[in-house]
């Protein structure tokens, strides 16, 4: 039995994971891999017109057909993965990390810090996200770092609200009171007592927020304020080829499938994260 190669399955590492989680993890890893090495595999440069027909069908030469200008969709999807996955992931991490850290600190410290921070972020939350994005990109100009920071800032208040609500509940538990009575500082309370008890819901929130960011990024790209042509993320691929929808063109279907598979997989993965097996008596 153990002469076989030690392929690290979840069970062998002491974790239990159901098959939905496994499938979702595979899809997410696949797109992450594509984001890294995809452009190296693309058969044509993404900006080059290679077909005389527009909205061309799937063929041996063009694996996913051609777009409204006759460019190769397969190459463009591979290239778009880098923007969609990369920018959204960076932005969602930025939003969730800052939101959760601020939220937990506000809940633990309370008082004026809590009130001030909550009101400020509520004010930020009240500005419509698309409008805020438009104004900021128009003012600063579009580049990838600007997009990441902008999307991060737009989604921080939501993450803050969510984390604070969770942390306020944990904060009233006796073990936090014990730590307080021991004389522990805020940093310890936040990282060791509160954080481990809210990671589950916070990760679920991260999955949802990731989807929102993909959608907002697509919206900005459509308006010409996101990723700049000839490059494109998946959202802009869908928007620019939307005219092919009546013909059932693969040019619009393929990027849509890519968005759907990524966002659904991220959510399924987060709902079905591996659980550590605690049954020690086996």
């Amino acid at each position: 039995m153990h002469t076989k190669a030690f392929w690290p399955t979840p069970r062998r590492l002491g974790y239990h994971m159901n098959w939905i989680g496994l499938i979702a993890a595979t899809v997410v890893c696949f797109w992450a891999l594509v984001a890294v090495i995809g452009p190296m595999l693309s058969p044509y440069p993404p900006g080059e017109i290679v077909d005389f027909d527009y909205y061309g069908p799937i063929s041996a030469k063009l694996w996913m057909g051609s777009d409204y200008l006759g460019r190769d969709i397969f190459s463009r999807v591979l290239m778009g993965a880098r923007y969609t996955v990369g920018i959204s992931l960076a932005a969602v991490c930025l939003a969730c990390i800052s939101g959760v850290v601020l939220g937990m600190t506000a809940a633990v410290v309370g008082g004026w810090l809590d009130t001030g921070l909550s009101r400020f972020l509520d004010a930020l939350n009240s500005i419509p996200s698309k409008l805020f994005g438009l104004v900021m990109v128009a003012a600063i100009g579009s580049s990838i770092p600007v997009l990441i920071v902008l999307l991060g800032v737009i989604y921080t208040p939501g993450a803050y609200r969510f984390a604070r609500a969770l942390a306020v509940n944990i904060n009233t538990m006796d073990f936090v009171t014990v730590a307080r009575a021991r004389g522990e500082r805020t940093g310890y309370l936040v990282t060791r007592e509160i954080l481990p008890n809210i990671t589950g819901p916070v990760l679920a929130d991260l999955g949802l927020r990731f989807v929102f960011i993909v959608l907002l990024l697509s919206g900005l790209s459509f308006l010409g304020l996101g990723v700049q042509p000839p490059n494109a993320d998946w959202g802009s691929l869908v928007r620019e080829n939307i005219g092919g929808l009546p013909f059932g063109a693969p040019a619009v279907l393929m990027p849509s499938l890519a968005i759907a598979s990524l966002t659904i997989s991220v959510n399924l993965l987060i709902d079905n994260l591996p659980v550590k097996i605690r049954d020690r008596s086996e």
Binding site: D174, G183, N197, R278
Partner: protein, 547 residues
């Protein structure tokens, strides 16, 4: 005549998260005759609730009935389809849960919830159900039976809510009632009222009943027969008198022995008189809510409380919920800064707020909370929980910290391998030991024990008390022991302080508790402690209305 319930060779299995199957009920058989109340007694994890639930054909998630039969009035609940079982629940068999507060929907009026069973099974019209409910309220000795149904769950007390839960179970006119530790969460003075109400309705209706409990004295009042369980097997079975006076099985004897209060006096009694007290509280006033114009908080929880604790001795604080005893512990620990008054540790005044106190002062005074479930961080292994005060107060790291953690686990009689477990994987008694080990890790001189044995069953609680005494001898500790359970206070304390509505009503040495109480409230409190005697409940006069 056929028995109301016949359980034969019942087996229940549970599945662990690694897919392993564990047999938790290993072939249990017993009968309940018509109109008989059978008590299921045993420590936590003995399978008593699991058996009680099978009487409704129900198992908790992850558990399955794998063998045997459960016959209710001749029909086998195990073989029956789920739809038929549903028809039986509420009409033939009804359930009164441990925590009535969790069993009521806080957003609906009590009356609507009580008559819901009658509506689901279409037993009678809503008006008829309401009339019947009022009759039940009266039978259960609830105050204002005509109008109490119009209130919401938060507007009645815990003991009243428990009786309303019984009314909810009784409205369908069941033949069998299941009581799942219905009085465990109540004060002794409330428990007596609830027990009396239960006993009279059961007598009146002539119903059969199952009473799940770990408290032998409570069971002695209400049951006809006792079934003693351990590890999913019946250990002993017999009429109450026989179990109480001629118990044969060692486990049953252990249960009975845990009941005998062992009078306790610490060794250093005489010499302690001359020394200065290790902890002294002077005229403490504390409460909740904003300060009023007179400089007092909106809701006063402690009013001018003073007490002193000599080095190496123990002070007991008793009183019912809301008497301010837990607030006293919080005020001493600096978690709820008092409005006025002083806390002196070794004749040195402490700052009112824990944040303002020095590390050394915090170290010498540790607090242990009642519910080990919430007092231990569920996401951190036991080793981390116990080791943290070592790092925090003594700067120990790495191997030194590991070694000391092992010593502490030995000290509280836990296996060293427990270090890697999470709190959720331990039993109630083990959790409370971890809770204690964490306080000991600091190397304290005074430990404030806030109801630390209240959530444990009798045998486990007795073991924890023994442990506290041993530790005291070895480490020269002093305890402030807060409890509503008189026998545990008697077992460990030198002096006892009785609290009512935030004030100290009486101070007594522990050995004069029974006869020496002067204040009527202390007398009531002492007389409400159930005794191992079947006639005790009927001999106690009903609570004076004046109190």
């Amino acid at each position: 005549m056929q028995n109301l319930v016949e359980i034969r060779d019942l087996k229940v299995q549970a599945r662990s998260d690694a897919g392993r199957r564990i047999e938790i009920i290993k072939g249990v058989s017993f009968d309940i005759a018509e109109g008989e109340i059978v008590a299921l007694i045993g420590e936590s994890g003995s399978g008593k609730t699991t058996i009680a639930l099978t009487l409704m054909g129900h198992t908790r998630p992850g558990c399955t009935i794998t063998g045997g039969t459960v016959r209710l009035a001749g029909r086998d609940l195990v073989a029956m389809p789920e739809a038929e079982r549903q028809a039986l629940r509420g009409t033939e068999v009804a359930y009164v849960p441990q925590s009535a507060a969790a069993a009521f929907n806080p957003s609906q009026r009590l009356m609507d919830q009580v008559i819901e069973v009658a509506q689901i099974h279409k037993l009678m019209s809503p008006d008829a159900a309401r009339v019947k409910a009022v009759e039940l309220f009266r039978a259960l000795a609830l105050p204002e039976p005509e109008t109490i149904g119009q209130r919401y769950p938060h507007q009645v007390s815990g003991g009243q809510l428990q009786r309303l839960a019984a009314a909810m179970a009784l409205i369908g006119g069941p033949k069998l009632m299941i009581f799942d530790e219905p009085t465990t969460a109540l004060d002794v003075t409330t428990q007596i009222e609830v027990l009396r109400a239960f006993k009279s309705v059961m007598k009146l209706g002539g119903m059969g009943g199952v009473y799940v409990s770990h408290d032998l004295a409570v069971v002695a009042q209400i049951a006809d027969r006792i079934v003693v369980l351990k590890g999913g097997e019946v250990q002993e079975e017999g009429p109450v008198e026989q179990i109480l006076h001629r118990a044969e099985h060692p486990y049953t004897r252990e249960l009975l022995a845990a009941f005998e209060p062992v009078p306790y006096a610490s060794a250093s009694r005489s010499e302690a008189e001359t020394k200065r007290p290790i902890l002294e509280v002077r005229n403490l006033v504390a409460g909740y809510g904003p300060l009023g114009r007179d400089g007092r908080p909106h809701k006063l929880a402690l009013n001018n409380v003073s007490c002193r604790l000599e080095r190496g001795q123990n002070l007991g604080v008793i009183g019912e919920s809301g008497s301010g005893k837990s607030t006293l512990a919080r005020a001493i620990a600096g978690l709820l800064p008092p409005v006025s008054g002083k806390v002196l540790l070794d004749a040195h005044a402490l700052e009112p707020e824990a944040r303002a106190r020095g590390k050394e002062e915090l170290r010498r005074l540790q607090i242990v909370f009642q519910l080990a479930d919430t007092a231990l961080n569920p996401q951190r292994p036991v080793g981390d929980i116990v080791g943290r005060p070592l790092t925090f107060y003594h700067g120990q790291k790495g191997a030194a910290r590991e070694a000391r953690t092992d010593e502490l686990l030995d000290m509280v009689r836990l296996p060293r391998a427990m270090k890697h477990r999470l709190p959720g994987e331990l039993s109630g008694g083990q959790k409370q030991r971890v809770n204690l080990a964490r306080a000991l890790a600091a190397g304290p001189e005074v430990i404030l024990c806030d109801e630390i044995t209240s959530a444990l069953d009798t045998v486990v609680a007795a073991a924890v008390i023994e442990l506290l005494k041993e530790l005291q001898r070895e480490l020269h500790l002093s305890y402030v022991f807060i409890s509503h359970d008189l026998s545990t206070v008697q077992a460990i304390c030198d002096d006892v302080m009785v609290m009512l509505n935030g004030e100290v009503v009486e101070r007594l040495p522990a050995d004069r508790l029974q006869g020496g109480a002067q204040h009527p409230y202390s007398q009531l409190l002492f007389s409400s402690v159930p005794k191992l005697d079947t006639g005790w409940l009927d001999s106690v006069p009903p609570r004076a209305a004046a109190l």
